[in-house]
């Protein structure tokens, strides 16, 4: 019997992990938080979510077509869906449809495919999409609504939802400030943190997600559950989430201890904004974070410190996205300086000296 001639060397065995499986597991981990938030913000959120994910997939298909790459096979890796999903979770849930579409174009066409497609981008596509929208359309991107759970009294029906998403008819009465935004505004009016803190939802509500914010910002507990699931599945390791949240908590707690009137507490920083989503799902993006564990620790600490700095000293109330993008730009350098030590060599690459038996 003839045998096929293998054109490449071994190994003649392979693990069962694939890119598609990895992406799919991440989507699965996002599912509980997403479903809860879609319920919380009702039909307008469902429409925006569908549009954003759909737009990302459509833009990805168009880019692949233009580049002459296989369309169906590449779309099957689910990476565009994941980008769209994370993007939708970072937008105000009642934002108009064109925010989702424009953000998708920036995320997929300009951030991902202009650099060569999957694996080649320097910056996190979803975060670029969100940030460009925030800078370009600050008003539309900062209209937060209090939760209007599906089928509850006062929640928009499907028809009203179409008017909100496609007609731009945002009801005047529903807007609310996110906790971080509220504290910042009050601080700028000279009202100390201790006083304004009394007005924000209590910690329990923040943890459960019953508050204003983007979909990814609410419900820390479900995001955490998803993140732990990813760790259990070994899709992500603890390094980025722990170093990021740890550094954010420590620096916030330190400054809160020094000047409680000016700085909010470490716990508040952990529970508010997109801290959990960022730590488990955004900063851990494979493509734009360092490959070595040491590099990931440095990266996480950087994101944590920058997030805190931007939240406290910059013009925007939330700094997660900016912090991740800034650290993304450092990833190649971090990678270069945190390569593991090779077997039998010193950190500098010289052969180890022959030591005497210990």
């Amino acid at each position: 019997m003839s045998i096929a001639i293998m054109k490449k060397s071994g190994p003649f065995a392979h693990g069962f992990n694939t890119v598609q499986k990895t992406m799919f597991t991440v989507l699965l981990a996002l599912m509980p938080a997403t479903l809860f938030n879609l319920y919380l913000f009702g039909w307008p959120a469902i429409l925006l979510f569908t549009i954003t994910v759909g737009a990302c997939v459509a833009v990805e298909a168009a880019c692949l077509l233009l580049a002459g790459k296989p369309v169906v096979a590449t779309l099957a890796d689910c990476s565009a869906i994941l980008t769209g999903w994370l993007l939708a979770m970072s937008l105000p849930p009642w934002a108009p449809w064109w925010i989702g579409v424009l953000a998708a174009i920036f995320a997929i066409a300009l951030t991902k495919h202009a650099f060569g497609g999957l694996g080649q981008n320097v910056f996190n596509p979803a975060m670029v999409g969100r940030t460009v929208m925030l800078i370009s359309f600050p008003v539309a991107m900062t209209v937060w609504v209090a939760p209007h759970p599906l089928f509850s009294a006062g929640a928009p029906g499907l028809t009203e939802a179409f008017a909100i998403t496609f007609g731009g008819n945002m009801p005047d009465t529903v807007s609310a400030a996110s906790a971080l935004g509220y504290i910042k505004t009050e601080l700028s009016r000279g009202i100390p943190v201790a006083q304004s803190m009394a007005q924000v939802p209590d910690l329990m509500d923040m943890t459960l997600g019953y508050r204003a914010g983007s979909m990814g910002e609410t419900s820390a507990i479900l995001i955490l559950a998803g993140g732990l699931f990813l760790m259990a599945k070994r899709i992500i390791s603890w390094h980025i989430p722990v170093s990021m949240m740890g550094s954010l908590f420590l620096i916030a707690a330190l400054f809160h201890a020094i000047d409680p009137a000016r700085f909010t507490s470490g716990t508040f920083h952990l529970m508010s904004g997109a801290t959990f989503l960022g730590a488990f799902f955004i900063a851990t993006d494979y493509v734009t974070s360092p490959v070595s564990k040491t590099g990931q620790l440095i990266f996480g600490i950087g994101v944590g410190l920058l997030t805190w700095s931007i939240r406290n000293f910059a013009g925007y109330p939330e700094g997660m996205a900016f912090a991740v993008l800034l650290m993304n730009s450092l990833t190649p350098i971090i990678d270069q300086y945190t390569r593991p030590r090779a077997f039998g060599r010193t950190r500098k690459g010289e052969p180890l000296p022959l030591e005497e038996k210990p």
């Binding site: 694939t18 694996g119 593991p340 052969p351 210990p358």
Partner: protein, 497 residues
């Protein structure tokens, strides 16, 4: 015994249960045996026989030549039909000089060297010479001439002989079976080797997925206080010499050094058994246990196979193929080599013949790297496969070399773990080949340059002497040719040649 962690590694599907409970069976003598002159690392052996010669089992038919080489012996009695070029068991399938024997069916032993009566009283040289004479090579797969390695005691101060019974490659069970069926022979061989090396201690490292072998070997070693059997964790590539040394002693072999520089010499368990046969009975290495396995083999088995048996004969002995194999591999699935055809012989380093189905290999088209970093996390050598591959893809081999591609021993863990199915090891093998070639080019041109310079100096000196002689003879020697011109031309010619 306290063990030490090794970096990275993977846990592939071992599938050893296909053959681990199959006792070693001897294979009937095939119609013809094909003995390549080079079955080992080093120089090929020199032919001692000619067409038509009658040989007997164990008779030397090719002699080792050079410092690193191994002799070949007739695996049975019979007639030399020819010495011809036959396809080698190498992915290239290129032919190499091979002695072809037609067995006469009598399997008559030649006059073998006398057994060494008390090897522990014998001079280490006697044992070393006997091992060299018996054509023994490392049977774990690398096939490095064992006598050369046994001689390390003369050059370095050694403490431990580490017997490698890790057998970390999936599928393979030949070492497992040898340890379970011939524990006393392995232990005796190990003691003889330790005596030859001058090491006081013997440690036998066996992966924990071979509990019977661990138990049997521990019992067999109980009588000898200097021998310790150690169960090491199941973690591929635990059987790599340097990693096994690290796991057992905690010491890391420096780059470009040998484990012997740490006082530890590593030999395979099957090699120890071969040494036992050579020393106690004068029998050379003429057969070995081969694991024939894989999803496409009808009856997976551990077969005592005469060296030189064609792979096709061996597969047929194991019932042939039950399915179309996607590829046939010489060795284990992780580090083994694909066979170009079944018309190649089993050699001394053949630990396994695996006929694997597409499902077992689980190959897929390569997709884009998503920088997941799994290859960096699992690389047992601490390299960054993702970076090295990126540079090699752009043919930037200098940077790949700086990142340590030459330190990669192609264990295959990175390719195995890659979710994008990028053939990382294939990249590294390519880079290593090209870099080695460039290095030998560089050495060659440097040598030519040195030769040319020496020649220039020599010619200049000769011209100088001539001029001096002429000047001494007759004073008006002005019309002599300027000496510089000719030598310069010669130099250039030499360099360009």
């Amino acid at each position: 015994m306290k063990l030490f962690p090794i970096r990275g590694g993977i846990h592939p599907e071992y599938r050893k249960d296909m053959t681990s409970e199959k006792a070693i069976v001897a294979m009937p003598m095939p119609a013809a045996l094909y003995i390549p002159l080079q079955q080992h690392i080093g120089a090929p052996a020199e032919v001692l026989v000619a067409e038509g010669d009658l040989v007997r089992k164990g008779q030397m038919i090719a002699r080792n030549q050079g410092a690193v080489s191994a002799s070949q012996h007739a695996p049975t009695s019979g007639r030399i039909t020819s010495v011809a070029e036959v396809a080698a068991p190498h992915p290239s399938g290129l032919p190499q000089k091979t002695i072809i024997i037609e067995p006469d069916g009598k399997d008559e032993w030649a006059d073998l060297p006398e057994p060494i009566a008390d090897p522990f009283a014998a001079d280490p040289h006697t044992i070393h010479d006997r091992v060299a004479q018996s054509g023994i090579v490392g049977m774990g797969g690398a096939a490095f001439p064992s006598a050369v390695k046994l001689n390390l005691g003369a050059q370095k101060k050694l403490e431990t002989l580490l017997l490698n019974g890790a057998e970390c490659e999936p599928y393979l069970t030949c070492d497992d079976r040898v340890m379970r069926e011939y524990p006393d022979e392995v232990i005796d061989g190990a003691r003889i080797m330790a005596h030859a090396l001058g090491t006081a201690k013997v440690v036998i490292g066996i992966e924990q997925n071979k509990p019977q072998a661990i138990e049997i070997m521990t019992r067999a070693a109980a009588a000898f206080p200097e021998i310790k059997v150690v169960a090491v964790p199941v973690q591929y590539p635990m059987g790599s010499e340097r990693h096994l040394v690290q796991a057992i002693t905690g010491r890391e072999t420096p780059a470009r050094k040998l484990t012997a520089d740490l006082g530890i010499v590593v030999h395979n368990v099957a090699t120890a058994r071969a040494v036992h046969h050579a020393v106690r009975f004068g029998r050379p290495l003429v057969a070995r246990v081969v694991t024939v396995s894989g999803g496409a083999i009808r009856e997976p088995s551990n077969v005592m196979t005469p060296i030189g048996t064609k792979v096709s004969d061996l597969v047929e002995f194991c019932g042939g193929f039950s399915a179309r194999p996607e590829s046939v591999v010489n060795g284990g699935p992780m580090m083994g080599q694909p066979l170009p055809s079944l018309d190649v012989p089993v050699v001394k380093g053949t630990s396994g013949i695996l006929a694997m189905t597409a499902e077992e290999i689980n190959n897929s088209p390569t997709s884009a790297c998503i920088r997941c970093g799994a290859c960096v996390t699992i690389c047992p050598c601490g390299l960054s496969p993702v970076d090295m591959a990126a540079f090699i893809r752009k043919d930037n081999l200098d940077v790949a070399a700086k990142l340590g591609v030459m330190d990669c021993f192609s264990c295959g863990s990175c390719s195995w773990v890659c979710p994008s199915h990028i053939p990382l090891v294939h990249y590294f093998n390519y880079a290593k080949g090209v870099l080695r070639e460039l290095e030998s080019e560089r050495r060659k041109s440097e040598r030519i340059k040195t030769l040319a310079e020496v020649r220039t100096i020599r010619i200049e000196k000769a011209a100088e002497a001539k001029r001096a002689a002429l000047a001494a003879k007759s004073k008006p020697a002005a019309d002599a040719a300027p000496p510089g011109g000719e030598t310069k031309a010669t130099t250039e010619e030499k360099v360009n040649a």
